[in-house]
Each structure stands twice: as structure tokens, then as C-alpha cells.
Symmetry: C2
Subunit: 279 residues, 2 copies
């Protein structure tokens, strides 16, 4: 099953994909659907699809998660090529819900954030409460998978040892386009994850290469904080970010970034950098 959150008429509505079109659901977004114990059953039993509402576009697939936890340093090939040991624990930080943006939205940053870099990621959406979960318990609580672009302002990320500022600019994390349930998609079996900038492929990863896969991440996180339906976990990015090239390469005003996750879809993000005019 493939679920999305549609923007329509100043509000949003959850919808399930059926064939080439969409059936709207009674929930205002996919997060609300997951917080309703009968939400997934309602979606599975939904009536035949209607057309996409006129003027609708896609919101972040979960627009208002209570918690967004992100992992860094999580692709084994990239870690090994950098000459590092595989980590014993996942490197975790958070994002605020208002960092999320829709899968076709333009991302706008101020000129002070002009060293903007791409990070194609697999994202996991939680479907059931998790507290001190085992690996099996965590696996059973996964609602599904989606894609994210953890666009990062490298200078602000490196102001200190804690990455928050560079990861938390307003509306800089495209999430979507759809949530795909685990019966249709298995990241552990390997999904191609790529990033293109103006059509040029810059990242090419495989989700089978994750050091900490989705169940491992959810189990570790649930040891210290409770996870709830609709919470989102970003699993890290493979090799090929702009900051790691020589010389470093960052996004320019007018660039278009495309993150593609096999079986999920594509995030297409025009970049707008707003330089202030001098008086």
C-alpha cells in the first residue's frame, strides 16, 4: 500500500494510491492515520480511487511528527572508504517537524546558509508505540518507508561539535513522496538510493549497506525515548555529499536536486538562495 498526504484547499488529506490515481481517506494526513488504530485498515478497505483533487499537490508524507530522529555515519561502504571503523552506536541528532517540506517544494534558504549540501536518505515511519523495544518488536512497529533529502547547511552544522543548527533551517527537509508499507518494500534486501543535481548523479547507494538498519535504529532509540505512530527516523546518507568532494561543492540558486529511492519515488527540489540586497 502506498499512502500520501495531499494539500488541497488550504488543508491536507491522507490518500491511498490505487492504480494511477488516489482515494482520499478520512484522516487529515498520514500521521493522523497512523495514530488512529483503525487507520491502516480503513486505508486498505477504501473505496475505489477518485482523481487527484484539482490543484492538489503533495505535502510531506507525515507533516507533523512528534519526533524526528536522524542518523549520521550509517553506510558501511562510505565509512570504510574513509578509513574509519564501523561504529558501535548510531550517531543521532534531531530535527524539528517544521524542517519538513513537500516532495516537490522549492527549498529556500537565506544567503548566510549558502553552503547547502544534499543527503539522500531512506526514512522510516513508526506505526506503533515503542519503548525499550527488542529488534523484533521494533521491526513489527514499522509503518513503512519513504525518502528524505536531509539538506544540510555545512557551515552552521560545523559551528560547534553539535550539528543541530545546520540541520534545522526551516522547511529544508523534503519527505515523501509516499509511504510504502513493509509488505511491499524491504530495505534490507537492497533498494537503490540516488541523488542527482541538475541531472548529474552525485550519490548512488544501496539500503542493504546500512550499518544500523531500520529495526536496529528503532530499538536503540526506544531505549532512551518513547516512539509513537507517525514519528520519523532518517537513516543516514551514502557517499557522495558535496562537502566530501575536492574542492567541496554546494548547491547554487536555481539548482534542482532529485533524490530517488527505489520502490518509493522521487523528491524533486528546486533550490532558492535569497541573498539580501545591500542598502
Amino acid at each position: 500500500m502506498r499512502l500520501a498526504t495531499l494539500r488541497t484547499g488550504g488543508t491536507t488529506v491522507a490518500a491511498v494510491a490505487a492504480g494511477g490515481s488516489w482515494a482520499p481517506l478520512p484522516h487529515r494526513d498520514v500521521g493522523a492515520l497512523l495514530r488512529d488504530a483503525d487507520g491502516l485498515a480503513t486505508a486498505r478497505a477504501s473505496a475505489g480511487p477518485g482523481p487527484l483533487p484539482a490543484g492538489a499537490d503533495l505535502a510531506p508524507v507525515v507533516p507533523h511528527p512528534a519526533k524526528v530522529v536522524c542518523c549520521g555515519h550509517n553506510y558501511a561502504g562510505h565509512i570504510r572508504e574513509m578509513g574509519r571503523e564501523l561504529p558501535a552506536h548510531p550517531t543521532l541528532f534531531t530535527k524539528f517537524a517544521d524542517t519538513l517540506t513537500g516532495p516537490a517544494d522549492t527549498v529556500t534558504v537565506p544567503g548566510l546558509a549558502a553552503d547547502l549540501d544534499w543527503e539522500a536518505e531512506l526514512a522510516v515511519v513508526v506505526g506503533a508505540p515503542l519503548h525499550r523495544a527488542t529488534r523484533d518488536g521494533a521491526a513489527a512497529a514499522i509503518a513503512g518507508y519513504t525518502a528524505a533529502n536531509d539538506l544540510s547547511v555545512r557551515s552552521w552544522q560545523r559551528h560547534t561539535g553539535q550539528w543541530l543548527p545546520g540541520k534545522a533551517f526551516d522547511a529544508t527537509t523534503p519527505l515523501g513522496p509516499v509511504l510504502v508499507t513493509p509488505d511491499e518494500l524491504d530495505p534490507a534486501a537492497g533498494l537503490a538510493l540516488t541523488c542527482r543535481v541538475n541531472g548529474e548523479r552525485v550519490q548512488s547507494g544501496d539500503t542493504a549497506d546500512l550499518v544500523f538498519d531500520a529495526p536496529a535504529l528503532l530499538a536503540y532509540i526506544s531505549a532512551f525515548t518513547r516512539l509513537s505512530p507517525g514519528d520519523v527516523v532518517l537513516t543516514g546518507t551514502p557517499a557522495g555529499v558535496g562537502a566530501a568532494t575536492s574542492p567541496p561543492r554546494f548547491l547554487a540558486d536555481g539548482d534542482v536536486v532529485e533524490v530517488s529511492l527505489q520502490g518509493v519515488g522521487v523528491l524533486t527540489t528546486p533550490i532558492r538562495i535569497e541573498f539580501e540586497e545591500c542598502a
Copy 2:
């Protein structure tokens, strides 16, 4: 004016202190009061105080902030005694709202989090929306000040370079007891901030020693993320944490930690460590 959030009958209610007692307000907590544009005026005009409702105790003064941002390495004396340079930027990380707990609540952690350490802090509560604020704009948007104990699980904080896991255990951050408005309290003029463990003083700081004071922190944070009424910023802790003593000292089951902030009050926190029994 001194505001608190009282727990009573399974819910909460905001209240204003008047003389030795409390006047209940129409808002469910101090966060809701601050999100109401007329909330502070309502509090100032509130009728004469009644007694504290029977069985009421204190909730975190803002129980459900949308954002909790915390600063580390922010007391100049402690930074200099460690032989470090004063930082150019604040070191920031986040907490989830469910890390907060009441000013007299017992804090319980699992045995795997037994290296629990204290951090007495001044906390700032936001009173107006802030986006790319100047220092003056940030100062004008401060609703008031309260105290926090950023109890930290040092092993989990150090699993990787990112501190989140050690800072995010459920209900481990006492916040309160009251919010004091800026007309009654000026941290820049110097407020004594102390921490005691079982009566022994272990931290003794002065809020005039902050490298990044409250307006500076809010202005910096608002450069990358929007702040809203009820958001909370923890400003960092002075010298004297347990991890920095030789040998390191951590809290034991049954210890009582008291954080005292001049003009605000005391957080009294009994510590409970739940070791699992072996089968």
C-alpha cells in the same frame, strides 16, 4: 509576576502566585497561557488568590513546548579553567518535550543509565514569535525565566559525538518551579545558581558569567529556526558536574538533587535507578 502549572485532578491548570497562595487561571498550563495573546494580561488582572487546590502539585512550568533547545559550554569561568578559548558560537542540541518533569518529581532511569549526572541551569521561556531576530528583538520576546536540571546519562551522551541519547531519557529534566517575568528578574545582573546532592553543594555559578546570554541565544537560534511562545531554551551549566570530578561521581539510587536559582526557587529531585533483577 510568578506563574506555575499545577497538576490537579488528572489535568493541569496555569496559576499566578499572589502573596503566599495561587490564583488559578483559565489556561491549562503556562505554555497555553503564553500562546494566548491576552494570557499575560489575564494573569496580571486575575482575581485575588485562592488556596492551592487540594492534592495539587507542580508540573513542569511549560509541560508541552514545541521546541526545547539546550546550550552546552556556556559559563566563561568553567571554560577558562579548562584552558579552552571562549566559543564563537553556542553549542546547541535539543530535547523532546517528554524529557521534562515536575520540579518535585522523582526521576527514574533504568540501570543501563546509571551514570546519571546533574546540570543546574537557567532556562528561558519564549513569549512571542521569533524569526531572524536581532538581540533587541530577542530580548523583548522573553516571557520569563525558570530553572532546569539537565540530568544527563554520560555514557549514552558519549556513545558518539552527538549528545542526544544521553540528554533524552524520558522525564529526566525537571523544569520550574515557576516562571518569573523579566520585570522581576535580570539574569544578566547575576543570579546565584547552585546544585546540591544530598545537601552537599556541588555547583555554584552566577548567571552573569554566561558567554551567550538569553537574548544572544534566542537571536542565534532564531536565525535557523522559528521560535514560538512557550518554547524553552536551556542556557548551559556552570562548573562542578560529576563527570568532571576525579574520580567521576554519578548519582546513586536514593540520592536527592536540589537545583536552586536565585529569585526563581528550588527543584528537588529524588533519584531512582531501576536495576533489572536477574532471572
